[in-house]
């Protein structure tokens, strides 16, 4: 009897030991996994911080020399070493704004059509075609813009635009000639095509997450497709939608090569959208390789810092808008 008892205790003890060691092993691998994911997350912050710090260090000479006037003056003269970023800042914001103005409604429209109206047979080909747009390298857009799109706009579209708006007070200034084909509007249009797939594929994906029961309930109450989209689909997916739009805006703000080819790279500010302009990233791409002299290089890096800050501000505004939306929805 006693023998059996000791045997039992020994087995139990052994089992307990095994269990503990297995659990310890599991705990150990959990810890490793935890650390790895933590490292991955922190490394993003580290890289971001390092980029920001090195930009500040690189831009310091220019910011010290020009102070805040670097942002507000529209001079760019490597010969006298006087630099101001106003023209490229304005160009960046305007091209991105027009691009979004065109791409957001069209992108949403495509997504709504694909998820609500499109026959199943057509859905895949259209989706794939739009995703292919995102796969085209920007240099290809640039060359296509320079050799085909800009001349096409110059010959066929801009003359009629100039004519049509020539007597409308504000629009006459916005669409003033001469039209060279390349300029702010052309690059905005190309940007719109480039960011379209981001908006479309993200919004299509989030539209698909809307529970069918919600939509069916609405249709059952006699909602039209537009009312379903407006009152059910878009409110339900607003976070994802805004994410897609922000992704697109980020690309529009930072896009370099395509814009460089078609914007005309003129440092002068013009009221006309048809006139050549410039953007921050185009300016950096154009001049960095041949920038000789500390202040020149530093001013270009300062441009990069400004682009960084602009993107940061835009993202913050988006976050804030989202927060407001959620609060409103919560009430």
């Amino acid at each position: 009897m006693a023998d059996v008892m000791t045997d039992r205790t020994a087995t139990l003890e052994r089992l307990g030991r095994d269990r503990a060691s297995v659990l310890r092993g599991l705990g150990f691998s959990d810890k490793i996994f935890n650390t790895l994911t933590w490292l991955a997350a922190v490394s993003v912050l580290l890289v971001l911080g390092a980029v920001f710090i090195s930009l500040i260090i690189g831009a310091y000479p220019a910011l010290q020399a020009f102070g805040f006037s670097f942002v507000t003056t529209a001079v760019w003269n490597p010969n006298t070493d006087k630099y101001g970023a106003f023209a490229p800042i304005v160009g960046t914001l305007i091209t991105a704004f027009i691009a979004m103005l065109i791409a957001v409604p069209i992108g949403l429209g495509i997504a709504i059509y694909l998820t609500e109206r499109c026959p199943l047979l057509l859905r895949r080909p259209i989706s794939i075609a739009i995703e292919l747009l995102a796969g085209i390298p920007s240099i290809i857009y640039g060359i296509w813009g320079l050799f085909f799109f800009a001349p096409f706009m110059k010959e066929n579209v801009y003359p009629s635009l100039i004519l049509a708006f020539s007597h409308v007070p504000v629009l006459a200034d916005l669409f003033a000639g001469p039209a060279y084909g390349i300029g702010t509007l052309t690059s905005s249009l190309i940007l719109a095509v480039m960011v379209l797939p981001f908006i479309t594929s993200v919004s299509r994906d989030v539209f698909d997450t809307v529970p069918p029961v919600l939509k069916e309930a609405a249709y059952g109450q006699g909602f039209t497709t537009w009312e379903v989209v407006k009152n059910i689909v878009i409110p339900y997916t607003r976070v994802g939608l805004l994410g897609g739009v922000m992704l697109a805006l980020g690309r529009a703000l930072g896009e370099t090569m395509a814009v460089t080819f078609v914007i005309g790279n003129a440092d002068k500010l013009s009221t006309s959208l048809l006139a050549p302009g410039t953007t921050i990233s185009a300016k950096i791409a154009n001049e960095f390789t041949e920038a000789v002299g500390d202040l020149y290089t530093s001013s270009l890096i300062a441009l990069g810092l400004i682009l960084f800050v602009i993107t940061f501000i835009v993202l913050s505004i988006a976050r804030y808008m989202l927060l407001r939306l959620e609060q409103k929805a919560g009430v």
Binding site: N77, P78, N79, G264, D267, N286, T289, V292
Partner: protein
């Protein structure tokens, strides 16, 4: 094949890859100007066949070349813009010499005007790029071309948007022939242009000019020739009307006084000589006078000596212009200034 032998084989492959990288690292390394890249690449190819030694040239732009040679990350730098004595000293006691030349030519798109039909002089060209001469039938252009039929179309100026040695030499020429240009704009790889639109690279300028009636731009002569652009003639320093071609550039270089130049700081725009093309340019090599790695420097000098000796025909094929023989001899005699850590001259043979 079992796992062990596979592992061994892959280890062997890695090892041989490392050896191969080491062999690549022994190549002559240089970085800089993109303008001479095609001819350096062609020379390097032929040189490798001849001697087995390769060249690794990064065509990253003159500014980048100057930065890299200053940091000594390459054996030689290359720049379309010569450095003055102070800049050479700032780079850590560098020396420079001209390697090969080319010309820059105005290209136009004017209704009814073919290549060579139109003649411009420096002052008029400067006024066009200043935005002072605004139409093609302006009196200044008419005076130079009494027989040409010129439309009253507006002139659109197309310039380079990227920093470029071509822009440096072009604006340098305009500054020499126009006081207003020198005071208002000056000369640099990128300047604040008074008028017109900017296009990226020779191809960008060429394409915009071809597409826009009434436009004028400037590109390298080799590029204009290969793409059959409409070029203008120019009135040169001696008042003669000349065409942009290799002979004109050679004439400009022949009359340039390299021997008296301070460390080969010489820009060959607006040179005297009846046949001299006024907007000629040379591109430069930069090397430190005190080198750490004498063996690598010696390999580089051997390559340049070989290119001077055997490279003229290849340069000609690519529409570059070789340096005159006298200048080559002068350059090679100056290489004696390049010394290793032991104070001995680095051998170039």
């Amino acid at each position: 094949m079992n796992i062990k032998s596979m592992a061994f084989a892959s280890a062997l492959a890695v090892a041989s890859a490392v050896v191969a990288t080491a062999a690549v690292a022994a190549d002559i390394s240089g970085a800089g100007a993109s303008f001479p890249y095609p001819i350096y690449a062609k020379w390097a190819d032929a040189y490798k066949k001849d001697t087995g030694n390769g060249l690794n040239y990064q065509s990253i732009g003159s500014g980048g070349g100057i930065k890299q040679i200053t940091a000594r990350t390459v054996t030689f730098g290359a720049s379309d813009v010569p450095l003055n004595a102070k800049e050479l000293a700032d780079g850590g006691n560098l020396m420079q010499w001209p390697m090969v030349m080319g010309g820059i030519v105005p290209v136009i798109n004017v209704e009814g005007v073919a290549s060579g039909d139109l003649t411009l002089d420096g002052d008029t060209l400067a006024k066009i790029f200043l935005g002072e001469v605004k139409t093609w039938d302006d009196a200044a252009i008419k005076k130079l071309n009494p027989n040409a039929k010129l439309p009253s179309a507006a002139i659109l100026v197309v310039h380079r948007s990227d920093g470029s040695g071509t822009t440096f030499n072009f604006t340098n020429y305009l500054g020499k022939v126009s006081k207003t240009w020198a005071e208002k704009v000056g000369s640099k790889t990128a300047v604040e242009w008074p008028t017109g639109l900017g296009a990226k690279g020779n191809e960008g300028v060429a394409n915009n000019v071809q597409q826009t009636k009434g436009s004028i731009g400037y590109v390298e002569t080799a590029y204009a020739k290969q793409n059959k652009l409409t070029t203008t003639k120019m009135v040169n320093h001696d008042g003669k009307v000349v065409e942009a071609n290799a002979a004109g550039v050679q004439a400009a270089a022949a009359n340039a006084d390299w021997a008296k130049s301070d460390g080969f700081f010489l820009i060959i725009t607006d040179q005297p000589g009846a046949a001299a093309w006024p907007i000629s340019a040379s591109t430069f090599i930069l090397m430190p006078k005190e080198v750490k790695d004498a063996a690598a420097a010696s390999e580089a000098l051997k390559f340049f000596a070989w290119a001077y000796k055997n490279g003229d025909k290849m340069a000609d094929e690519l529409d570059y212009v070789a340096m005159p023989a006298g200048v080559k001899d002068l350059v090679m005699s100056k290489w004696a200034d390049i010394k290793g850590a032991d104070g001995k001259a680095v051998p170039a043979k």
